[in-house]
Protein backbone atom coordinates (compact mmCIF):
# COMPACT_ATOMS: atom_id res chain seq x y z
CA UNK A 1 0.00 0.00 0.00
CA UNK A 2 1.21 3.46 -0.87
CA UNK A 3 -0.74 5.33 1.73
CA UNK A 4 -2.94 4.08 4.50
CA UNK A 5 -5.08 6.33 6.67
CA UNK A 6 -6.55 4.65 9.70
CA UNK A 7 -9.28 6.14 11.88
CA UNK A 8 -8.03 9.66 11.41
CA UNK A 9 -9.65 12.24 13.68
CA UNK A 10 -9.00 15.96 13.64
CA UNK A 11 -10.77 18.37 15.94
CA UNK A 12 -10.51 22.13 16.16
CA UNK A 13 -11.48 23.12 19.65
CA UNK A 14 -14.44 20.79 19.81
CA UNK A 15 -15.42 21.12 16.17
CA UNK A 16 -14.85 17.79 14.46
CA UNK A 17 -13.42 18.49 11.01
CA UNK A 18 -12.44 14.91 10.30
CA UNK A 19 -14.22 12.14 12.15
CA UNK A 20 -12.82 8.65 11.95
CA UNK A 21 -11.64 8.55 8.34
CA UNK A 22 -10.01 5.42 6.95
CA UNK A 23 -8.93 4.61 3.45
CA UNK A 24 -5.98 3.23 1.50
CA UNK A 25 -4.24 4.23 -1.68
CA UNK A 26 -2.60 1.73 -3.96
CA UNK A 27 0.64 2.18 -5.84
CA UNK A 28 0.03 3.93 -9.15
CA UNK A 29 -3.60 4.67 -8.47
CA UNK A 30 -5.47 7.92 -9.03
CA UNK A 31 -7.77 8.51 -6.11
CA UNK A 32 -10.20 11.39 -6.01
CA UNK A 33 -11.67 12.99 -2.92
CA UNK A 34 -14.91 14.85 -3.39
CA UNK A 35 -17.47 16.48 -1.21
CA UNK A 36 -19.17 19.84 -0.72
CA UNK A 37 -17.42 22.84 0.75
CA UNK A 38 -16.71 22.39 4.43
CA UNK A 39 -16.78 18.62 4.20
CA UNK A 40 -13.25 18.41 5.63
CA UNK A 41 -11.31 17.57 2.49
CA UNK A 42 -8.64 20.18 3.00
CA UNK A 43 -8.29 19.26 6.66
CA UNK A 44 -7.65 15.67 5.66
CA UNK A 45 -5.07 16.82 3.14
CA UNK A 46 -3.35 18.99 5.66
CA UNK A 47 -3.24 16.18 8.19
CA UNK A 48 -1.54 13.85 5.74
CA UNK A 49 0.90 16.52 4.54
CA UNK A 50 1.84 17.43 8.08
CA UNK A 51 0.29 20.92 8.31
CA UNK A 52 -2.08 19.77 11.03
CA UNK A 53 -1.32 17.35 13.80
CA UNK A 54 -4.13 14.77 13.85
CA UNK A 55 -6.08 14.43 17.09
CA UNK A 56 -6.21 10.69 16.65
CA UNK A 57 -5.57 7.89 14.19
CA UNK A 58 -2.60 6.85 12.09
CA UNK A 59 -1.15 7.73 8.72
CA UNK A 60 1.17 5.18 7.08
CA UNK A 61 3.21 5.97 3.98
CA UNK A 62 4.68 2.89 2.34
CA UNK A 63 4.29 1.15 5.66
CA UNK A 64 6.07 3.90 7.61
CA UNK A 65 4.19 5.76 10.31
CA UNK A 66 4.29 9.46 9.39
CA UNK A 67 1.58 10.64 11.77
CA UNK A 68 2.39 14.07 13.16
CA UNK A 69 5.48 14.65 11.05
CA UNK A 70 6.40 18.15 9.96
CA UNK A 71 5.51 19.17 6.41
CA UNK A 72 9.13 19.24 5.21
CA UNK A 73 9.74 15.74 6.58
CA UNK A 74 6.68 14.46 4.81
CA UNK A 75 7.87 16.00 1.56
CA UNK A 76 11.34 14.54 1.90
CA UNK A 77 9.72 11.17 2.52
CA UNK A 78 8.13 11.39 -0.93
CA UNK A 79 4.77 13.09 -0.68
CA UNK A 80 4.32 16.35 -2.57
CA UNK A 81 1.30 18.60 -2.57
CA UNK A 82 -0.23 21.64 -4.16
CA UNK A 83 -2.42 24.17 -2.43
CA UNK A 84 -6.02 25.14 -2.82
CA UNK A 85 -5.36 28.84 -3.04
CA UNK A 86 -2.22 29.40 -5.05
CA UNK A 87 0.81 29.63 -2.80
CA UNK A 88 3.62 30.76 -5.01
CA UNK A 89 6.82 32.69 -4.30
CA UNK A 90 6.00 36.03 -5.94
CA UNK A 91 9.51 37.47 -5.81
CA UNK A 92 11.22 34.58 -7.57
CA UNK A 93 11.03 33.73 -11.24
CA UNK A 94 9.12 30.73 -12.51
CA UNK A 95 12.31 28.77 -12.99
CA UNK A 96 13.52 29.64 -9.50
CA UNK A 97 10.20 28.56 -8.04
CA UNK A 98 10.64 25.15 -9.58
CA UNK A 99 14.33 25.01 -8.66
CA UNK A 100 13.42 25.34 -5.00
CA UNK A 101 11.41 22.16 -5.38
CA UNK A 102 14.40 20.47 -7.02
CA UNK A 103 16.66 21.57 -4.17
CA UNK A 104 14.76 19.11 -2.02
CA UNK A 105 16.82 16.31 -3.54
CA UNK A 106 20.07 18.05 -4.48
CA UNK A 107 22.36 20.74 -3.16
CA UNK A 108 23.85 21.54 -6.54
CA UNK A 109 22.42 24.53 -8.29
CA UNK A 110 23.39 23.33 -11.76
CA UNK A 111 21.56 20.06 -11.23
CA UNK A 112 18.55 21.81 -9.80
CA UNK A 113 18.42 24.21 -12.69
CA UNK A 114 18.65 21.43 -15.24
CA UNK A 115 15.86 19.52 -13.58
CA UNK A 116 13.71 22.59 -13.32
CA UNK A 117 14.14 23.29 -17.02
CA UNK A 118 13.20 19.72 -17.84
CA UNK A 119 10.03 19.90 -15.82
CA UNK A 120 9.10 23.32 -17.17
CA UNK A 121 9.51 21.90 -20.63
CA UNK A 122 7.19 19.07 -19.76
CA UNK A 123 4.65 21.57 -18.46
CA UNK A 124 4.90 23.74 -21.52
CA UNK A 125 6.23 26.64 -19.46
CA UNK A 126 9.67 27.03 -21.03
CA UNK A 127 8.75 30.39 -22.49
CA UNK A 128 7.83 31.76 -19.06
CA UNK A 129 10.95 30.53 -17.22
CA UNK A 130 12.33 34.02 -16.68
CA UNK A 131 9.01 35.66 -15.85
CA UNK A 132 7.65 36.41 -12.41
CA UNK A 133 4.68 34.21 -11.60
CA UNK A 134 2.27 36.86 -10.31
CA UNK A 135 2.00 38.39 -13.73
CA UNK A 136 0.90 35.12 -15.33
CA UNK A 137 -2.66 33.83 -15.74
CA UNK A 138 -4.08 31.54 -13.08
CA UNK A 139 -3.76 28.47 -15.28
CA UNK A 140 -0.03 29.03 -15.64
CA UNK A 141 0.35 29.62 -11.93
CA UNK A 142 -1.39 26.34 -11.25
CA UNK A 143 1.01 24.62 -13.56
CA UNK A 144 3.98 26.21 -11.80
CA UNK A 145 2.70 24.83 -8.51
CA UNK A 146 2.39 21.45 -10.08
CA UNK A 147 5.86 21.66 -11.62
CA UNK A 148 7.30 22.69 -8.27
CA UNK A 149 5.70 19.76 -6.50
CA UNK A 150 6.95 17.33 -9.12
CA UNK A 151 10.46 18.73 -8.82
CA UNK A 152 10.65 17.34 -5.29
CA UNK A 153 10.53 13.87 -6.91
CA UNK A 154 7.55 12.55 -5.02
CA UNK A 155 6.06 9.11 -5.27
CA UNK A 156 2.72 10.36 -4.07
CA UNK A 157 1.34 13.63 -5.38
CA UNK A 158 -1.57 15.29 -3.62
CA UNK A 159 -3.45 17.92 -5.58
CA UNK A 160 -5.83 20.23 -3.75
CA UNK A 161 -8.49 21.72 -6.03
CA UNK A 162 -6.32 21.81 -9.10
CA UNK A 163 -9.07 22.98 -11.43
CA UNK A 164 -10.58 25.66 -9.24
CA UNK A 165 -10.81 28.87 -11.19
CA UNK A 166 -9.92 27.32 -14.54
CA UNK A 167 -12.15 27.31 -17.56
CA UNK A 168 -13.06 24.01 -19.22
CA UNK A 169 -10.36 24.32 -21.84
CA UNK A 170 -7.64 24.97 -19.29
CA UNK A 171 -9.01 22.15 -17.18
CA UNK A 172 -8.70 19.80 -20.09
CA UNK A 173 -5.13 20.86 -20.70
CA UNK A 174 -4.14 20.27 -17.13
CA UNK A 175 -5.74 16.84 -17.17
CA UNK A 176 -3.65 15.93 -20.18
CA UNK A 177 -0.47 17.15 -18.49
CA UNK A 178 -1.31 15.22 -15.34
CA UNK A 179 -1.82 12.01 -17.20
CA UNK A 180 1.40 12.47 -19.10
CA UNK A 181 3.43 13.11 -15.94
CA UNK A 182 1.84 10.26 -14.11
CA UNK A 183 3.03 7.86 -16.74
CA UNK A 184 6.45 9.41 -17.10
CA UNK A 185 7.27 9.77 -13.42
CA UNK A 186 5.31 6.75 -12.20
CA UNK A 187 3.31 8.76 -9.71
CA UNK A 188 0.44 7.92 -7.46
CA UNK A 189 -2.14 10.71 -7.42
CA UNK A 190 -4.50 11.78 -4.70
CA UNK A 191 -6.72 14.71 -5.56
CA UNK A 192 -9.55 16.66 -4.09
CA UNK A 193 -11.80 18.51 -6.40
CA UNK A 194 -14.80 20.67 -6.58
CA UNK A 195 -15.24 20.59 -10.29
CA UNK A 196 -16.85 17.22 -10.82
CA UNK A 197 -16.10 17.10 -14.47
CA UNK A 198 -12.42 17.05 -13.68
CA UNK A 199 -12.40 14.43 -10.99
CA UNK A 200 -14.84 12.13 -12.65
CA UNK A 201 -12.77 11.90 -15.81
CA UNK A 202 -9.40 11.54 -14.10
CA UNK A 203 -9.97 9.36 -11.06
CA UNK A 204 -9.98 5.62 -11.01
CA UNK A 205 -11.67 5.61 -7.67
CA UNK A 206 -13.29 8.33 -5.55
CA UNK A 207 -13.95 8.88 -1.89
CA UNK A 208 -16.91 11.05 -0.96
CA UNK A 209 -16.87 13.12 2.19
CA UNK A 210 -19.57 15.22 3.78
CA UNK A 211 -19.66 17.00 7.11
CA UNK A 212 -16.32 15.57 8.19
CA UNK A 213 -17.24 11.96 7.50
CA UNK A 214 -16.47 9.55 4.72
CA UNK A 215 -19.77 8.61 3.07
CA UNK A 216 -18.72 6.16 0.45
CA UNK A 217 -16.01 5.14 -1.97
CA UNK A 218 -15.92 3.45 -5.34
CA UNK A 219 -15.50 4.01 -9.07
CA UNK A 220 -16.68 7.46 -10.18
CA UNK A 221 -19.62 6.42 -12.29
CA UNK A 222 -21.02 4.23 -9.56
CA UNK A 223 -20.54 6.81 -6.87
CA UNK A 224 -22.19 9.54 -8.87
CA UNK A 225 -25.37 7.51 -9.05
CA UNK A 226 -25.58 6.90 -5.35
CA UNK A 227 -28.41 8.77 -3.72
CA UNK A 228 -26.47 9.86 -0.64
CA UNK A 229 -23.83 11.43 -2.81
CA UNK A 230 -26.27 13.51 -4.75
CA UNK A 231 -27.91 14.39 -1.51
CA UNK A 232 -24.65 15.55 0.01
CA UNK A 233 -23.95 17.60 -3.05
CA UNK A 234 -27.21 19.07 -4.11
CA UNK A 235 -29.19 18.78 -0.95
CA UNK A 236 -31.85 16.38 0.20
CA UNK A 237 -34.65 17.53 -1.98
CA UNK A 238 -32.68 17.50 -5.16
CA UNK A 239 -32.02 13.83 -4.62
CA UNK A 240 -35.61 13.09 -3.93
CA UNK A 241 -36.78 15.17 -6.81
CA UNK A 242 -35.10 12.93 -9.32
Amino acid sequence: MMLEVKNLVKEFGGLVANGDISFALRQGEILGLIGPNGAGKSTLFNCIAGYYKPTGGEILFEGKDITGWSPHQVTREGIARTFQGIKIMPNLTVEENVMIGAFCRTGDRQVAQKEARGILDLMGLTGEAEAFPTGLPIAAQKRIELARAIATKPRLLMLDEMAAGLNPLETKEIIQILQKIKEEKKLTLFLTEHVMEFIMTVSERVIVMAAGKKITEGPPVEVARQEKVIEAYLGERYAKGR
Binding site: N37, A164, V195, M196, E197, M200, T201, A224, E236
Partner: protein, 234 residues
Protein backbone atom coordinates in the same frame (compact mmCIF):
# COMPACT_ATOMS: atom_id res chain seq x y z
CA UNK B 1 -33.87 48.46 -8.65
CA UNK B 2 -30.30 47.17 -9.08
CA UNK B 3 -28.81 47.21 -12.49
CA UNK B 4 -25.35 45.83 -13.14
CA UNK B 5 -24.15 46.50 -16.62
CA UNK B 6 -21.16 44.70 -18.12
CA UNK B 7 -18.79 45.11 -15.22
CA UNK B 8 -15.24 43.96 -15.49
CA UNK B 9 -12.98 43.49 -12.44
CA UNK B 10 -9.26 42.84 -12.29
CA UNK B 11 -7.35 41.35 -9.38
CA UNK B 12 -3.74 42.51 -9.60
CA UNK B 13 -4.01 42.82 -13.30
CA UNK B 14 -5.70 39.48 -13.87
CA UNK B 15 -9.35 39.64 -14.88
CA UNK B 16 -11.64 38.05 -12.29
CA UNK B 17 -14.87 39.21 -13.90
CA UNK B 18 -15.04 39.59 -17.64
CA UNK B 19 -18.52 40.80 -18.19
CA UNK B 20 -21.28 40.45 -15.70
CA UNK B 21 -24.69 41.86 -16.29
CA UNK B 22 -27.62 41.39 -13.99
CA UNK B 23 -30.74 43.03 -12.75
CA UNK B 24 -32.71 42.77 -9.55
CA UNK B 25 -36.22 44.20 -9.25
CA UNK B 26 -38.05 45.38 -6.18
CA UNK B 27 -39.23 42.49 -4.01
CA UNK B 28 -37.51 39.86 -6.08
CA UNK B 29 -35.33 36.98 -4.94
CA UNK B 30 -32.61 36.48 -7.51
CA UNK B 31 -30.16 33.59 -7.29
CA UNK B 32 -26.73 33.60 -8.84
CA UNK B 33 -25.11 30.19 -9.17
CA UNK B 34 -21.83 28.92 -10.57
CA UNK B 35 -18.73 26.92 -9.76
CA UNK B 36 -15.96 28.00 -7.42
CA UNK B 37 -13.92 30.76 -8.88
CA UNK B 38 -16.63 31.74 -11.31
CA UNK B 39 -16.67 35.21 -9.83
CA UNK B 40 -19.90 35.24 -7.88
CA UNK B 41 -18.42 36.79 -4.73
CA UNK B 42 -16.44 39.27 -6.77
CA UNK B 43 -19.62 40.44 -8.43
CA UNK B 44 -21.26 41.06 -5.07
CA UNK B 45 -18.17 42.82 -3.76
CA UNK B 46 -18.15 45.05 -6.80
CA UNK B 47 -21.76 46.02 -6.13
CA UNK B 48 -21.02 46.91 -2.51
CA UNK B 49 -17.92 48.85 -3.52
CA UNK B 50 -15.28 46.63 -1.93
CA UNK B 51 -13.58 46.08 -5.26
CA UNK B 52 -13.71 48.61 -8.03
CA UNK B 53 -14.61 47.57 -11.56
CA UNK B 54 -12.36 48.73 -14.37
CA UNK B 55 -15.33 49.17 -16.66
CA UNK B 56 -19.09 48.90 -16.58
CA UNK B 57 -21.81 50.52 -14.50
CA UNK B 58 -23.73 49.73 -11.38
CA UNK B 59 -27.00 51.56 -10.80
CA UNK B 60 -29.03 51.35 -7.63
CA UNK B 61 -32.49 52.88 -7.77
CA UNK B 62 -31.29 54.82 -10.77
CA UNK B 63 -28.28 56.20 -8.91
CA UNK B 64 -24.78 55.42 -10.12
CA UNK B 65 -22.92 53.69 -7.31
CA UNK B 66 -19.97 52.43 -9.33
CA UNK B 67 -16.72 52.84 -7.42
CA UNK B 68 -18.39 54.53 -4.46
CA UNK B 69 -17.12 54.14 -0.89
CA UNK B 70 -18.60 51.06 0.77
CA UNK B 71 -19.81 53.06 3.74
CA UNK B 72 -21.88 55.26 1.39
CA UNK B 73 -23.37 52.33 -0.48
CA UNK B 74 -24.36 50.66 2.78
CA UNK B 75 -26.07 53.87 3.84
CA UNK B 76 -28.19 53.64 0.71
CA UNK B 77 -29.51 50.35 2.00
CA UNK B 78 -27.41 47.82 0.11
CA UNK B 79 -26.19 45.18 2.55
CA UNK B 80 -23.69 42.46 1.79
CA UNK B 81 -23.58 39.39 4.04
CA UNK B 82 -20.13 38.05 3.24
CA UNK B 83 -19.06 34.53 2.48
CA UNK B 84 -18.10 32.38 5.46
CA UNK B 85 -20.12 34.78 7.59
CA UNK B 86 -17.26 36.98 8.87
CA UNK B 87 -18.87 37.59 12.20
CA UNK B 88 -16.77 39.44 14.77
CA UNK B 89 -15.73 36.47 16.88
CA UNK B 90 -14.57 38.16 20.07
CA UNK B 91 -17.65 40.38 20.22
CA UNK B 92 -20.97 39.33 21.76
CA UNK B 93 -23.99 38.42 19.68
CA UNK B 94 -25.70 41.66 20.53
CA UNK B 95 -22.62 43.72 19.71
CA UNK B 96 -22.45 41.98 16.36
CA UNK B 97 -26.05 42.86 15.68
CA UNK B 98 -25.57 46.45 16.77
CA UNK B 99 -22.64 46.72 14.38
CA UNK B 100 -25.03 45.78 11.62
CA UNK B 101 -26.88 48.98 12.42
CA UNK B 102 -23.76 51.09 12.48
CA UNK B 103 -25.10 53.40 9.81
CA UNK B 104 -28.42 53.93 11.59
CA UNK B 105 -28.69 57.29 13.25
CA UNK B 106 -31.31 57.01 15.94
CA UNK B 107 -30.87 54.80 18.99
CA UNK B 108 -34.58 54.05 19.15
CA UNK B 109 -34.73 52.83 15.63
CA UNK B 110 -31.84 50.49 16.41
CA UNK B 111 -33.61 49.06 19.45
CA UNK B 112 -36.67 48.45 17.32
CA UNK B 113 -34.68 46.62 14.72
CA UNK B 114 -32.91 44.61 17.38
CA UNK B 115 -36.25 43.40 18.71
CA UNK B 116 -37.34 42.63 15.19
CA UNK B 117 -34.24 40.51 14.51
CA UNK B 118 -34.61 38.74 17.84
CA UNK B 119 -38.19 38.03 16.82
CA UNK B 120 -37.00 36.48 13.60
CA UNK B 121 -34.23 34.48 15.27
CA UNK B 122 -35.22 33.70 18.87
CA UNK B 123 -32.05 31.63 19.25
CA UNK B 124 -29.97 34.76 19.01
CA UNK B 125 -31.96 36.38 21.77
CA UNK B 126 -31.25 33.42 24.03
CA UNK B 127 -27.53 33.89 23.46
CA UNK B 128 -27.24 37.62 23.17
CA UNK B 129 -24.36 37.90 25.65
CA UNK B 130 -22.34 35.02 24.26
CA UNK B 131 -19.24 35.68 22.19
CA UNK B 132 -19.92 35.28 18.49
CA UNK B 133 -17.20 32.69 17.96
CA UNK B 134 -18.79 30.33 20.48
CA UNK B 135 -21.93 29.91 18.39
CA UNK B 136 -22.46 26.87 16.21
CA UNK B 137 -22.21 27.17 12.43
CA UNK B 138 -25.94 27.51 11.91
CA UNK B 139 -26.29 30.08 14.64
CA UNK B 140 -23.40 32.05 13.24
CA UNK B 141 -25.16 32.13 9.89
CA UNK B 142 -28.30 33.38 11.58
CA UNK B 143 -26.24 36.01 13.25
CA UNK B 144 -24.67 37.07 9.96
CA UNK B 145 -28.05 37.39 8.29
CA UNK B 146 -29.56 39.03 11.35
CA UNK B 147 -26.71 41.50 11.34
CA UNK B 148 -27.48 42.26 7.71
CA UNK B 149 -31.12 42.92 8.54
CA UNK B 150 -30.35 45.43 11.27
CA UNK B 151 -30.76 48.40 8.97
CA UNK B 152 -33.78 46.92 7.15
CA UNK B 153 -31.88 46.87 3.90
CA UNK B 154 -33.46 47.74 0.59
CA UNK B 155 -31.29 45.10 -1.06
CA UNK B 156 -29.88 42.13 0.85
CA UNK B 157 -27.05 40.24 -0.78
CA UNK B 158 -26.24 36.84 0.69
CA UNK B 159 -22.94 35.24 -0.28
CA UNK B 160 -23.02 31.43 0.03
CA UNK B 161 -25.05 31.36 3.23
CA UNK B 162 -25.27 27.56 3.24
CA UNK B 163 -21.53 27.09 3.10
CA UNK B 164 -20.35 24.54 5.62
CA UNK B 165 -23.80 23.93 7.07
CA UNK B 166 -25.19 20.48 7.67
CA UNK B 167 -27.95 19.44 5.23
CA UNK B 168 -30.62 19.80 7.86
CA UNK B 169 -29.57 23.31 8.64
CA UNK B 170 -29.38 24.11 4.95
CA UNK B 171 -33.05 23.30 4.59
CA UNK B 172 -33.83 25.46 7.56
CA UNK B 173 -31.78 28.27 6.13
CA UNK B 174 -33.62 28.28 2.84
CA UNK B 175 -36.89 28.37 4.72
CA UNK B 176 -35.67 31.48 6.44
CA UNK B 177 -34.64 33.05 3.16
CA UNK B 178 -38.02 32.48 1.59
CA UNK B 179 -39.57 33.91 4.72
CA UNK B 180 -37.50 37.03 4.28
CA UNK B 181 -38.65 37.26 0.71
CA UNK B 182 -42.23 37.08 1.90
CA UNK B 183 -41.52 39.87 4.36
CA UNK B 184 -40.84 41.97 1.29
CA UNK B 185 -37.07 42.04 1.17
CA UNK B 186 -35.30 42.23 -2.14
CA UNK B 187 -32.62 39.55 -2.08
CA UNK B 188 -29.66 38.69 -4.27
CA UNK B 189 -28.49 35.22 -3.36
CA UNK B 190 -25.24 33.53 -4.34
CA UNK B 191 -25.33 29.81 -3.79
CA UNK B 192 -23.77 26.45 -4.44
CA UNK B 193 -26.81 24.56 -3.33
CA UNK B 194 -28.11 25.04 -6.80
CA UNK B 195 -31.36 23.25 -6.58
CA UNK B 196 -32.59 24.73 -3.36
CA UNK B 197 -31.51 28.17 -4.36
CA UNK B 198 -33.18 28.06 -7.73
CA UNK B 199 -36.28 26.52 -6.25
CA UNK B 200 -37.04 29.51 -4.06
CA UNK B 201 -35.69 32.09 -6.50
CA UNK B 202 -37.85 34.16 -8.83
CA UNK B 203 -35.06 34.35 -11.32
CA UNK B 204 -31.55 32.99 -11.64
CA UNK B 205 -28.22 33.74 -13.29
CA UNK B 206 -25.53 31.21 -14.05
CA UNK B 207 -21.99 32.46 -13.86
CA UNK B 208 -19.04 30.74 -15.43
CA UNK B 209 -15.46 32.04 -15.48
CA UNK B 210 -16.47 35.60 -14.90
CA UNK B 211 -19.38 35.75 -17.34
CA UNK B 212 -23.12 35.47 -16.98
CA UNK B 213 -23.75 32.60 -19.32
CA UNK B 214 -27.35 31.84 -18.69
CA UNK B 215 -30.36 33.51 -17.23
CA UNK B 216 -33.97 32.74 -16.68
CA UNK B 217 -36.70 31.98 -14.16
CA UNK B 218 -35.64 29.85 -11.21
CA UNK B 219 -37.71 26.81 -12.06
CA UNK B 220 -36.89 27.09 -15.71
CA UNK B 221 -33.16 26.91 -15.02
CA UNK B 222 -33.65 24.01 -12.71
CA UNK B 223 -35.11 21.96 -15.49
CA UNK B 224 -32.32 22.76 -17.87
CA UNK B 225 -29.35 20.57 -18.51
CA UNK B 226 -26.87 23.39 -18.15
CA UNK B 227 -27.07 23.28 -14.39
CA UNK B 228 -26.46 19.61 -14.13
CA UNK B 229 -23.62 19.77 -16.58
CA UNK B 230 -21.95 22.62 -14.79
CA UNK B 231 -22.07 20.84 -11.48
CA UNK B 232 -21.97 17.13 -11.85
CA UNK B 233 -20.20 16.84 -15.15
CA UNK B 234 -22.63 14.15 -16.16
Amino acid sequence: MLKVDKIKVNYEGIPALHEVTLEVHQGELVAMVGANGAGKSTALKAIVGAVSPVSGNILFNGKDITRQETAKIVRLGVVYVPESRRIFGPLTVEENLLLGAFTADSEEEVRGHLDYVYGLFPRLKERFRQRGETLSGGEQQMLAIGRGLMIRPKLLMLDEPSLGLMPKLVTELFKTISLLKEEGYTILLVEQNVREALEIADRGYILQTGRTIHTGGGKELLESDTVRKAFLGL
